[in-house]
């Protein structure tokens, strides 16, 4: 494996995304939304909320946004270049498909992490300047976990960019994935839960005992994983879905959830390499 190949591919991805203003636009969007959530987002109070409350408010909105941003960033990474014709030139050099995939993931991952860091970083600084008792460590942890979460969707998008033979189909696939993880899976999982629990007898004060299979199923949805990880590591997460009041089980731990998120990255990255090795360019 040649380091210069994947480092150059990564560098090219970063330059490409900086030059097309993608990083600036998405960073500003993250910063703006975080500030809006911090200032207006907390029900029953007004003005700036501290970073803890901001994290609580941003987790779900962030997961919607970051998942779509990562999918949009990665869905055409491979197929886009094949369709445009630049992949054949790249592969005609002494660059392997594996090196190119690593380079793409590193470059796009860096772009994604940079936008999260800039966006949330700017917002964090503005909020910290307006509130007291700032828990910087928790906020940095939140940014770090959000980056890992973004990389999960990037990895999934990268795999999907090797599955489809057209960029337009890959875009459709990416949009479907977003709906799958953000809307369809939570509804299906809660629907399955409803077959075992009578929700009509549940009040907000009730501590819900949920069977373990539900929590196991949630490991197969990075959105739930991310929300649970933030909840366990930093604090409670505000939720607009019906499942928000379901407590995390005792066997969930930061290490386990982070491990599963990393496993998502590894599995889909490996699948992307495997699929790309078999693709005609």
């Amino acid at each position: 494996m040649q380091f210069n190949v994947f480092l150059n591919v990564a560098k090219k991805e970063i330059m490409d995304n900086i030059r097309n203003k993608w990083v600036i636009l998405v960073s500003l969007m993250f910063a703006l939304l975080t500030l809006v959530v911090s200032y207006f987002g907390s029900i029953g109070s007004s003005g700036w909320q501290d970073l803890g409350n901001t994290i609580s408010g941003m987790t779900q909105l962030g997961s919607f946004l970051i998942s779509i941003v990562a999918l949009m960033l990665g869905y055409a990474a491979i197929i886009g270049e094949i369709e445009r014709g630049s992949m054949s030139a790249l592969l005609s050099l002494s660059a392997t498909r594996f090196e190119i995939t690593v380079g793409k993931f590193l470059g796009l991952g860096a772009v994604l992490c940079l936008t999260i860091l800039i966006g949330y970083g700017i917002a964090g600084m503005v909020i910290a300047g307006n509130v007291s008792n700032v828990d910087y460590l928790a906020y940095l942890g939140f940014i770090g976990m959000t980056m890992v979460f973004g990389l999960v969707f990037l990895s999934v998008a990268l795999f999907f960019s090797t599955v489809f033979s057209k960029r337009s189909t890959a875009l459709g696939g990416a949009i479907f994935l977003w709906f799958l993880f953000n809307i369809i899976l939570p509804i299906v999982f809660v629907g399955l839960l409803a077959t075992t629990i009578d929700f009509t007898k549940i009040t907000m004060e009730t501590t819900l005992i949920v069977p373990d299979w539900y929590h196991v199923l949630n490991l197969f949805n990075p959105i739930s994983l991310y929300s649970s990880l933030i909840g366990i590591t930093i604090g409670p997460v505000q939720s607009s879905t019906g499942s928000g009041f379901i407590p995390n089980p005792s066997w969930y731990s930061s290490g386990l959830l982070m491990g599963v998120l990393l496993a998502w990255i590894v599995v889909f990255f490996t699948l992307a390499v495997w699929r790309f090795q078999r693709t005609d360019v």
Partner: protein
Amino acid sequence: MVTQLVKCPTCKTTITISGEPGEKIDLTCPQCNQKGVFRLPGEKNGKILASNSSTIEVKDLTKTYNHFTAVNNISFSVQKGEIFGFLGPNGAGKTTTIKAMLDLIHANTGAIKINGIDVRINGKEAKKSIGYMPEKVAFYDNLTALQNLAFYAEIKHASKEECISLIQKFGLGDVGKKRVGTFSKGMVQRLGMARALLGDPPILILDEPSGGLDPRGVVLIRDKILEMKKKGTTIFVSSHILSEIQEICDRVSIINKGVLVAQDTVEGLRKKLNLKPHITVTVDAISGKIENAVKKLPGVDSVKTLGTNTLEIICDGAMKAKVILAISTAGANIQNIQTKEPTLEEVFMKYTEA
């Protein structure tokens, strides 16, 4: 199978011979009948010896897409330092073959060796000696021409100075710092050729290098190809511009419907097809007597009247003197005679007509 070009020591005619590695071939020069024996280069440990052997060797290559066979069991070899033309109608399998040579697509069967290295086994090593210009030249639109070349140069371990020099050589010096997205097709094509030449590769594979270029660009690319040949570069070129191929190529292969239908020098192909030259004779006035006198000559295939004073005769080159004599004897005053050898276009049409 090894193919080798050898020169007759007497009349310097180029002769193509094929056979198994190490095989002794008895030769007779078709021009001067000089006889001789030539031994084809041998094979050692599965790696073809580099000297005097094929730089590119494709053997029994087949590629199918679902039920469509794009390339069907083709074999050819390209010698070190030669320009090898690869011709065929649209959809004949040219690009598929080139892509298989670069391991961009996965062939169903066959072996492809570049400098003796199997592309499918050690593509990374094999491709180190290749410069490739694809049919569809594409770059990263948001990056400048120089940034694009620098990206490929770093992977090829070429210098930034070389990028600047190539950009200037291809007439893009003024726009080197402009985004490629703003370039015309011709400019992108020239930048594509510059990319192929990065690192001064010993093998160039060019897929329709003149496509989309204006005449000045075509000349620029052709001159560059000839310049690279002088430096000893092996060049494999696929093109639709047959006149250009005829002008620059040492040997050509013609592929049709995925099958290799011919492979030789242009002259060799003409001979195989028994294509004869066209002799155009302009006289003061054509009469039936003149036409009949020419038609009667043995070895004359056809006589056609063009306008009021021109005859187009297709016959053996050796018949030219007899044709002139017959026309003069028939009472015509010859004003002009032109002989046109059969073009590669005629050869191409003949081989691909089915």
